[in-house]
Amino acid sequence: MRNGFRITFRRLWASVSICRPAAMALVAALMVTSMQAYAIDPMPFTDRAEEVRFQGLLRELRCLQCQNQTLAESDADIARQLRNEVFRMIREGQTNDQIKDFMTARYGDFVLYNPPVKMGTWLLWFGPFVILAGGALALAVHLRKRRVDAAPVTSTARDEEDW
């Protein structure tokens, strides 16, 4: 069974190696299409720095209609409108924080991909670390216990002990 799988895999790999140019062309084509997935309309940027700043902001803001896409990725009408709004505010000389405040005042913290640390988001930010610490503690306790167990038995009472 396992051998069969290995042979299949080897054949597959061989066929990939034979048509390597084709495979590379396919990869290149995929890369091009994934770049096109960014739905940013051409904006009249004054310089490269402005463009970088604009796109950085878009990647931090959520499209609320699609929810799992940033403003940079989404093709929804509302995302396009918010992109224009971000661009307008950059042109007006507003700071990144001002632009994010504008968005959260209207759409709430959910619009930010990096939610602020506060009471309501405490679990979101620190929950994983609490779980990690719990796991580390459990592991430490377990290892310690195993070391004690591995030590030469000095008492015969262990057999009666509850496991």
Partner: protein, 173 residues
Amino acid sequence: MNMRAFIPLAVFALIGFLLYSGIGKDPSYVPSPLVGKPIPSFSAPALYEPTRIVSSQSLLGTPYLLNVFGSWCPSCRDEHPVLTDYARRGKFKLVGFNWKDETVDAKRWLQQFGDPYAEIFTDLDGRLGLDFGVYGAPETFVIGADGMVLHKHVGPLDAETIEREILPLIAGK
């Protein structure tokens, strides 16, 4: 009895509680930061007479439902008979927020399905919708007589939701 035997049970209970508390909730619902605050100040042209201005000031005095709709929006058509029924029975004052629509289309839509709105204003380019945090029609805001946003509902309203979520908020106000 060793207490450690209860650890898996406790973990199970915790995970079970977390998962159970998520059942029946709409994961796409985004709470509006406007709730508990005054309605954004605005002035917008009325649908039937674009020269007349409807404003946040002119709507003060009675509680009302601000319904974001568009003739292009299929779910708006779904909730329309329900809203019409309640508005006609005088259960609440209904104000229309005609969002990103063509005026001609909106008028034809209302002619076809009925117009239960006490007042309708337009937002042709959706700029005003941004100030209200609108991200998809239909959305409905419940506004108090003092202009405070009491509640926001996203998606089509049905009779049950109106009875449960909306009417208690404006009762006796």
